[in-house]
């Protein structure tokens, strides 16, 4: 029976020759992930149920990234609980302040996810790793707890939407613009319960950082996972990071999709999502009014990677952000942070009047490090602009790429660059 990429990975991990849409399966996991917010709930449930062992100490990742460096006593207590659990069960991939990164920037960088693998994470943006040709999806804490014990999870086999990409991006148009464009087109539930599978000759011009950004926001269209066909760019990225055998899965030529969407990358424009849903997109060339901003955030699991830092620096070099604007730049991992220092990006950011911080999810979810007051407005390279997402319920978040966010920070209002 013909299968999509996602279906093939699920079938393999369920020990089945084939699976079909809607089938309920139990599959073996290659990685189970949690962070400092979701892991404590999982650990409580794990303990409450009386479990005393984990399935594989090398296949669990605990990353302290949301409220770290700890913002308050309660957050510190939650991290301590994770640290104690990791110590007790000798969990190999425990990342704390000093060696951590934002989980979805960190795991690919460390080679913890390989093409063809199956990963669940108690964080909705776990779908990021589909960029590597893995099947990866967000779950809750109870699923995480069960995964840590058994190394398995239940899945309902998803249908898929195929995105056939052609052409290449224009200058200053990035993966972020593409995924915002797609969410604007299909809506925040446009891919509900489904896979988003990215393929086509246009992939050749999409960098791994951009792929990670695109797959990251599959959940904002309601998708179960986003996945890219494995190619030379994937293999180049995993070389030297992944030191184990992996399998590459390609969709069958006659695989069935619920929808096929063709996109010419050269037609994608710089795009911004207006409050309060990611689907409220407009291209920057169509914004006639002055939308003044109080804050710009450049970072997160969506856009905190090296190419994001470089494009922001290119735009901010020898410039200064507008008076009255706070610009907060947060690299995704310690390695990216260090590379920013080595390449002179840190100096560019600080000279431009920006804050340049240690990795944290912080402001993206209104945790810390850049909360908005009532009536304030931010442009942000993060992934959600729900009511109250970054602070007060009367504040506003506009989602954009690092290029648009940096240009807007300089202008003091939402603007494109080109």
């Amino acid at each position: 029976m013909a299968m999509t990429m996602s279906q093939k990975i699920l079938a393999k991990h369920a020990g089945l020759d084939s699976v079909r849409e809607g089938q309920l399966i139990r599959a073996k996991l290659d990685m189970v992930l949690g962070n400092d917010i979701t892991s404590p709930v999982a650990i409580n449930e794990f303990n409450k149920a009386g479990f005393t062992g984990i399935f594989d100490k090398d296949k669990i990742s605990l990353v302290m990234d949301h409220f770290t460096p700890n913002k308050d006593i309660k957050a510190a207590t939650q991290c301590k609980q994770c640290r104690d659990f990791a110590g007790k069960y000798d969990i190999t991939n425990y990342y704390d302040v000093g060696d951590m990164g934002i989980e979805h920037a960190l795991l690919p960088e460390k080679g913890l996810i390989a093409p063809g693998e199956l990963c669940i994470g108690a964080d909705s943006h776990t779908c990021t790793y589909g960029a590597l040709g893995a099947f990866s999806t967000g779950v809750g804490s109870t699923d995480m707890a069960a995964g840590m014990v058994t190394g398995e999870a239940w899945f309902k086999v998803p249908a898929a939407i195929k995105f056939n990409l052609t052409g290449s991006f224009n200058k200053y148009v990035t993966g972020k613009d593409l995924i915002l464009h797609i969410i604007g087109m299909i809506g925040v539930d446009g891919a509900l319960y489904k896979s988003m599978e990215f393929t086509g000759e246009g992939l050749k011009s999409i960098s791994m950082d951009d792929r990670l950004c695109i797959a990251n926001m599959a959940i904002e269209a309601g998708a179960k996972n986003g996945i890219f066909e494995v190619d030379e760019i994937t293999l180049e990225y995993v070389k030297g990071r992944v030191n184990r055998d992996f399998e590459i899965f390609r969709a069958d030529d006659d695989a069935v999709y619920s929808q096929i969407i063709d996109i010419d990358l050269s037609a994608v424009k710089q795009t911004v999502s207006f409050p309060h849903l990611p689907e409220n997109t407009r291209t920057v060339d169509g914004i006639a009014e002055d939308i003044k901003i109080d804050q710009a955030v450049i970072g997160s699991c969506t856009n905190g990677r090296m190419s994001d830092m470089r494009i922001a620096a290119e735009i901010l070099k020898d410039k200064h952000i507008a008076k009255g604007v706070r610009c907060i730049i947060i690299p995704g991992t310690q390695k990216i942070y260090l590379d920013c220092v080595k390449e002179g990006l840190a100096e560019i950011f600080i000279n431009a009047g920006c804050v340049f911080s240690t990795p944290t999810c912080g402001p993206c979810l209104g945790g810390h490090m850049g909360i908005l007051a009532a009536g304030e407005r931010a442009i942000s390279t993060t992934n959600r602009n729900f009511v109250g997402r970054m602070g007060h319920t009367d504040s506003e978040v506009y989602l954009a790429s690092p290029a648009v966010a940096a240009a807007s920070a300089i202008a003091g209002k939402i603007t494109g660059i080109g």
Binding site: N44, F67, G140, G366, G367
Partner: protein
């Protein structure tokens, strides 16, 4: 098993950030989470909710974050059941895994209004609007999911 209560009605795309804002995620305590349930969409929810009440909403309920704190807060606030046209998939999974009853029923979601008195029969999937004297039929759970719920949630089911 049945639920019976007064309806708290919401619209499309009720996200997990309004169900339980991230500023309260520095705790996993169920009662404390419940004390902030729905705070950013309905400030009076916590004041008004009674044990057994029912939430009804339209499309894509529970979209956004994977935080299990969202169904935990709803359950711990006393809500006996959530009915919606559709649910975001992680929220749907989480609810089943922690034993919060949820039903997809577009007809009920569209028809039921805030304050209606509603009864739900989980064995048959029949939803009765007591206030307006009509019934709706929801899809009952697949066997696999019934088994998880029957064993008292995912962790108890794998333990057995």
């Amino acid at each position: 098993m049945k639920a019976h209560g007064t309806v708290h009605k919401y619209g499309d795309n009720v996200d997990t950030d309004v169900i339980i804002p991230a500023r309260y995620l520095n705790t996993a305590d169920h009662k404390e989470l419940a004390s902030h349930c729905m705070e950013d969409i309905d400030k009076d929810f916590v004041k008004n909710v009674k044990q057994g009440d029912i939430i009804v909403a339209n499309m894509n309920f529970g979209c956004g974050s994977s935080r299990e704190h969202a169904p935990i807060a709803i359950k711990a606030s006393g809500i006996s059941c959530v009915i919606a046209s559709t649910f975001a998939r992680i929220f749907y999974r989480n609810s089943i895994n922690i034993g919060l009853a949820i039903l997809e029923c577009d007809e009920a979601a569209k028809d039921i209004e805030n304050g209606d008195e509603v009864e739900v029969d989980f064995d048959t999937g029949v939803i009765t609007n007591v206030t307006r004297g009509c019934t709706y039929k929801a899809e009952p759970f697949p066997e696999f999911i019934k088994e998880i719920i029957g064993k008292g949630g995912l962790l108890n089911s794998i333990k057995q």
